[in-house]
Symmetry: C3
Subunit: 132 residues, 3 copies
């Protein structure tokens, strides 16, 4: 059987938890060996890759501490998924727009010049598209 | 002519009316005999399949009565579309997460273990994807 | 090399700026000669094609003047992109639903009977899909 290839596209920070749930459900349902998954983040969603950064724009946290903890949980879950083969990709344009330093990204996150190109190219390579 | 095959993906409850409008417009514009349509709901959107359930999370109804009526209209419209051949599919993960009993689903709604897998598989079978 | 073909789908008015940024980034990253882009607007997003119309539904502007100026900037940017070959398409159903006169559309905007059909048909012709 051919593997099921999918791009998960996330723009809004507050949809990360739901997106990671979707990835988990997809793996459980289809089997880890039968899927190829890449999560591509652009827009404000790239902020979630940084443990100590809060996206003021969309998350509006009331305190930096609670924000940091919440992010840490997300990053921990992403890391766990990356060890199962899930790719995580950040858009450089989005990182720049949100003043985020790509050198501080977790090691499991890849950077592409433009998330939009990645999303479109992968579809021409047979990936399905899922908008979180 | 090959039929146009499309997956309509809905996550947010408040987008149901718009989604059903889109389905209607697609059928009117392309002809009922020329389309194959499946509406896949995951996330909170699965709540709309239940006449007497309100999604507190996203709809925030002020009273159970008005909520019930509103849902009834949506379900009635879905039923009408299902009789025209439109498929409606609920994600079991989402039903469980929202404490909804799939035995109470209307008869025209199918259940899949994971909506995400359905959405991705169908694209590999030539379905176009439309995010509501 | 085959050109990368993409449909950008926009429903919500407030996502226009982000969408036009995405289009610009895609062109810069892939090269103007290597892409074929069509931006399809349905729902409230069609209002942004009209310089002097405000979408009360989603934008909730506090004054007509500020709204008009903001729209003018978006339309100017769309026009610039259209001169680079980007297609802009409005859904007639959406125009009617929002009481917008298609005769007042800027010359670079095409109208289709149903945006949904355009979005689905183009995918069957090899276009990738990007939901703004």
């Amino acid at each position: 059987m051919n593997k099921l290839k999918a791009i998960f596209h996330i723009i809004e920070t507050e949809r990360w938890q739901r997106t990671l749930n979707n990835v988990n459900n997809f793996i459980k349902d289809s089997g880890q060996d039968n899927v190829i998954i890449e999560v591509v983040a652009n827009g404000a969603a790239v902020a979630a890759f940084f443990r100590n950064h809060c996206s003021l724009e969309e998350n509006k946290p009331t305190g930096a501490a609670s924000c940091g903890i919440e992010k840490a949980d997300l990053v921990g879950e992403m890391k766990r998924l990356s060890q199962m083969g899930v790719g995580f990709t950040a858009c450089r344009n989005a990182l720049k727009m949100h003043d985020l330093d790509e050198k501080s990204l977790p090691g499991f996150v890849s950077v592409v010049p433009a998330g939009i190109t990645e999303i479109i190219k992968k579809q021409t390579e047979g990936y399905a598209y899922y908008k979180a």
